[in-house]
């Protein structure tokens, strides 16, 4: 308006001026008559010119939006995180129960005939026939195999390639999807290339959504007119006239508002998009952009991910009826969601199938067959499971990647998580905690590790394992109590001239005096003193006073050095109470230390990620196995031999009844029973379990009555291999009288067999007391 007024003003001035000179009025009149239409025209022309300029500018703006998005990265792609792949070979220890678990976890479908399609299996008794999925790992693609597995006594005894009838040496299954690390909008997608999309799928999609896709210019007037007529006839909106291009524009650039402005923008942008880009590229982008449902916070976008999420298959592997379900969802991803509303999904699928039959894409017979099929989706979504483990993964990845890259670059992260161990760890906590206390505030955390390489197999951060809040496994730093004692004695046993398992330690009243501070008097758990005891007995019975004396004798700085050699790199204060575990650690910290015990002195830093690929599946990073040996292996073997006896005769002796295989471990209880710990290992698994309250108030649990019960229930399910301390030259066993630490004759009832570095064994022989059949000392524990 202001432009119009400004234009009018000079004309008025000119008019007044003319009236002042009378004679020339007619001319002026003519002139006036001539100028009026001219002025109007110029106003209109000016207006049109300005509008045109504004319109062109606006088109440029829209065009710029489109090209910027399309020339750059169209989407932020979340990182996809995978569990470790199951590997099968002859000799592999695995139960049929575990095989079934793994197949279920990977969403394999049980069939009655020989499996024909990937991700199918059949089972009878202890025999499985499986067709695996192909999968791209960090070291290349693993092809699909069709195999027969025979399992006897929890061992794979036969592994045969069904088609060649030859033995299959090593079969690697696909890695199970764990979760994504998402950008703030939580969109998830598996990018597809148009070449990866079956022709039939494209035909079906265009049939239902945009029949003239390859002939229109982005907007289809015929479709709009048809939709308009149908809607007028129906009296409501029953049909849309949007092309695929318009749908894509709406999803990528605009809101879902039903306004004229949005519709106009949509039309112009569609035309511009088609002006710039190839139809095939637009179609490919559409296939990857379309919203197809919600999995908790995760938004499912694109047909690639939808196929995997709803049916556990890639788009290529979907059957026609499954494709029809996905295409039907374009109309309403929530209403036609096959998981939530299978009936609606089925109705819509049948409409799609019917249209296909009408267009001769399928025959009448095919239509009847396909429309009779039930809507079968994979049983459960796995997104968001194992938050405690994922925290650890993020912690490791953050050393090498910015958090923005983690949530936007489409990385594929291959972790060490063992789904079977994770499941059993969760179950051990869920089922055991209520037996320990009726108080539902009692919490627990656990970390399970492969001893030989530090691979973290499972992490549980609380009694509700899927809760994404406080992760106790990583962040609850609590006093570790007697878990420190093997570290104290390992420090001592490094010097065999001073300490052996038979060294007599003083378990009598001890008061530690410090100038200007209160005296400190450590007590044993039973509040009694036991006089002279062997180091072995002090460890088995977890006596406090001998541990404190030994810690002070070997030097607390040396104990801290040992802790560091075992893998604990954080700062520790050298207070005398350190010998009783007055040092705060998280379960992950403790696992780091006890992994070194379980690996006989070879520390491997805990590792939760094996490898990372970029979104093109090229290897970016591989996290190698690392080992570091800073402790004397002989001393470690001796401590471990005693830890075996802790689990047989000592504070953890109940494990001997519970487990069919030899394990080693140590209980830990902090002051006033505030923390209950157990750390232990078999030959193939190491785990640390903690129980306690978040507000640090006392429990009624010791290490053996609390955490150890969870540990035992876990190891019943996941441990296959007994722990044996390593045979090494220079170590030998001798029978020792535990009353006095001297050599003992065979048959003496208070004798036990202990491990020594050759030359460090006692030189004197004890008088044999009695000669009973049973072991007096060990019976004492019982």
């Amino acid at each position: 308006m202001s432009a119009k007024n400004n234009k009018a003003s000079p004309a008025k001035k000119r008019s007044n001026k003319s009236r002042g000179k009378g004679k020339k009025r007619p001319v002026k009149k003519r002139s006036n008559n001539r100028k009026k239409p001219s002025s109007k025209r110029s106003i209109i022309i000016s207006f049109l010119a300005v509008s045109l300029i504004a319109f062109i500018a606006y088109l440029f703006y829209l065009d710029n939006r489109i090209t910027q998005r399309f020339e750059g990265r169209i989407w932020q792609l979340p990182a996809h995180v995978y569990a470790r792949p199951l590997e099968l070979f002859v000799g592999k220890k695995i139960s049929t129960k575990q095989v079934l678990f793994e197949l279920d976890y990977l969403n394999y479908q049980q069939v009655q005939q020989l499996p024909q399609k990937p991700a199918q299996y059949r089972q009878w008794n202890n025999i499985f026939e499986i067709k695996t999925r192909s999968f791209v790992f960090w070291d290349g693609e693993e092809n699909s195999h069709t195999i027969r597995i025979t399992i006897e006594d929890d061992v794979v005894t036969q592994l045969i390639d069904i088609y060649t009838a030859n033995s299959a040496d090593l079969v690697r299954f696909d890695a199970g999807y764990l979760t994504g690390i998402f950008p703030s909008h939580s969109q998830d997608r598996v990018l597809l290339r148009l070449d990866d999309v079956p022709d039939m799928f494209i035909k079906m999609l265009l049939l239902i959504e945009d029949r003239r896709y390859f002939t229109h210019w982005g907007v289809d007037p015929l479709s709009i007119a048809r939709a308009l007529l149908v809607n007028i006839y129906s009296g409501r909106t029953v049909q849309g006239g949007s092309t695929l291009t318009q749908q894509l524009v709406k999803n990528l650039f605009l809101t879902q508002d039903k306004t004229i402005v949005r519709k106009v923008n949509e039309a112009f942008m569609s035309l511009l998009l088609e002006l710039h880009y190839d139809k095939k590229l637009i179609l490919e982008t559409y296939l990857n952009e379309i919203y197809l449902g919600q999995d908790g916070r995760r938004a499912i976008h694109g047909f690639g991910l939808a196929g995997e999420y709803y049916f556990g298959k890639s788009l290529k592997q979907l059957s026609i009826d499954e494709m029809a379900i996905l295409i039907g969802m374009v109309k309403g991803a929530s209403y036609y969601n096959p998981k939530r509303n299978p009936e609606h999904a089925r109705e819509r699928r049948d409409i799609v199938l019917s249209a296909m039959q009408g267009s001769a894409l399928i025959t009448q017979r095919q239509y009847e067959k396909l429309s009779n099929r039930p809507v079968a989706t994979v049983k459960h979504a796995r997104s968001g499971l194992y938050p405690a483990f994922i925290d650890l993964v993020k912690l490791q990845l953050q050393q090498d990647y910015q958090s923005d890259d983690l949530s936007s670059e489409g990385l594929r992260v291959f972790t060490t998580l063992d789904p079977y161990v994770q499941y059993n760890t969760e179950q051990a906590i869920i089922k055991t905690l209520p037996q320990l206390s009726k108080n539902k505030d009692l919490q627990a955390a656990a970390v399970v590790v492969s001893p030989s390489n530090g691979d973290v197999l499972a992490v549980v951060g609380g009694r509700n394992p899927s809760y994404k809040g406080f992760n106790r496994a990583l962040n609850a730093e609590r006093q570790i109590g007697s878990l420190i004692k093997p570290v104290i004695y390992l420090t001592a046993l490094r010097d065999p001239s001073r300490y052996t398992l038979s060294t007599m330690l003083d378990d009598s009243e001890f008061i530690y005096k410090t100038p200007n501070q209160d005296d400190w008097q450590p007590l044993n758990y039973d509040k009694e003193y036991h006089g002279e005891v062997t180091l072995y007995e002090a460890l088995l019975k977890s006596y406090n006073v001998p541990a404190v004396r030994t810690g002070l004798d070997v030097g607390l700085d040396n104990v801290i050095t040992t802790l560091s050699a075992l893998g604990y790199k954080k700062s520790v204060s050298a207070y005398p109470s350190l010998s009783l575990g007055a040092v705060n650690m998280s379960p992950v910290d403790v696992a780091n230390i006890y992994q070194t015990f379980a690996a006989n002195g070879f520390h491997s830093p805990l590792r939760s990620v094996h490898a990372v690929l970029d979104n093109e599946r090229n290897p970016l990073e591989r996290y190698s196995l690392d080992v570091d040996n800073q402790v004397r292996p002989e001393a470690m073997a001796i401590v471990n031999s005693a830890l075996i006896d802790v689990a047989k005769y000592g504070t953890a002796k109940r494990l001997a009844d519970q487990l069919p295989l030899q394990v080693a471990g140590k209980t830990g209880t902090s002051d006033d029973l505030r923390d209950s710990w157990f750390a232990g290992f078999s030959g193939d698994t190491m785990a640390v379990v903690w129980t306690g309250y978040d507000d640090n108030h006392p429990t009624t649990l010791t290490g053996s009555s609390g955490a150890m019960k969870i540990w035992g229930n876990l190891f019943k399910e996941v441990a296959y291999k007994p722990y044996e301390f390593p045979q090494m030259p220079g170590l030998a066993k001798y029978r020792v009288d535990v009353n006095n630490g001297l050599l003992s004759e065979n048959g003496c009832e208070n004798a036990v067999e202990l491990l020594f570095i050759e030359g460090s064994q006692p030189q004197q022989t004890s008088d044999c007391e009695g000669g009973g059949e049973s072991n007096w000392f060990l019976n004492l524990f019982n």
């Binding site: 590997e87 070979f89 002859v90 000799g91 592999k92 960090w138 070291d139 033995s167 040496d169 090593l170 492969s450 001893p451 030989s452 390489n453 691979d455 006989n600 002195g601 070879f602 490898a611 591989r622 190698s624 196995l625 690392d626 080992v627 570091d628 040996n629 292996p633 390593p726 045979q727 090494m728 030259p729």
Partner: protein, 164 residues
């Protein structure tokens, strides 16, 4: 026959290394790790690593074969990955740890090479030949690291193990 060839290859390699060591006499302070590794352990014969073909651990042999191909192509990282898979199947398989030590030497990861060789020895108590080989890796790495104590200890170990 396999065992015989394995023994021959171990001993000939150990003798080669021992003779190199005696010629050098003392640690050559300016030796590059790369050159040393190439000189002393570059010609190692891989067939000696195979398990007996008992069927039970044929999976390991398959992975070792794949690792060999990768080593031939100097794809040491990928070969390392194959060997780590071997160790997930059989963690106490000392030859795989030993080969990881050799690969670490090729990749100039000297400390890693020492640790892998030590780990291999921890599982090879009854295998003197393999221990000689591992100590030779330790010696090579420690020379490049100018770690005299470890170098002389490795020399002593090699000498004492040759007796067996």
């Amino acid at each position: 026959m396999n065992t015989f060839f394995r023994l021959i290859s171990y001993f000939s390699f150990a003798l080669l290394l021992a003779s190199c060591a005696s010629i050098d006499g003392q640690i050559a302070g300016n030796n590059t790790a790369d050159g040393t590794a190439q000189d002393e352990v570059g010609s190692y014969k891989y067939d000696a690593w195979r398990l007996n073909t008992s069927g039970e651990y044929e999976a390991i042999n398959v992975l070792l074969d794949e690792a060999d191909v990768l080593i031939e192509n100097r794809a040491y990282n990928a070969a390392t990955d194959k060997l780590e898979r071997v160790l997930r199947i059989k963690p106490e398989y000392a030859p795989a740890w030993s080969r990881l030590s050799w690969l670490a030497l090729q990749m100039n990861s000297l400390k890693r090479s020492v640790q892998m060789a030590k780990r291999s020895n921890s599982f090879a108590a009854s295998d003197a030949e393999l221990q000689v080989l591992n100590w030779s890796f330790i010696r090579t790495a420690s020379r490049a690291l100018n770690d005299e104590d470890t170098y002389y200890r490795a020399n002593q170990k090699i000498e004492s193990l040759k007796v067996f």
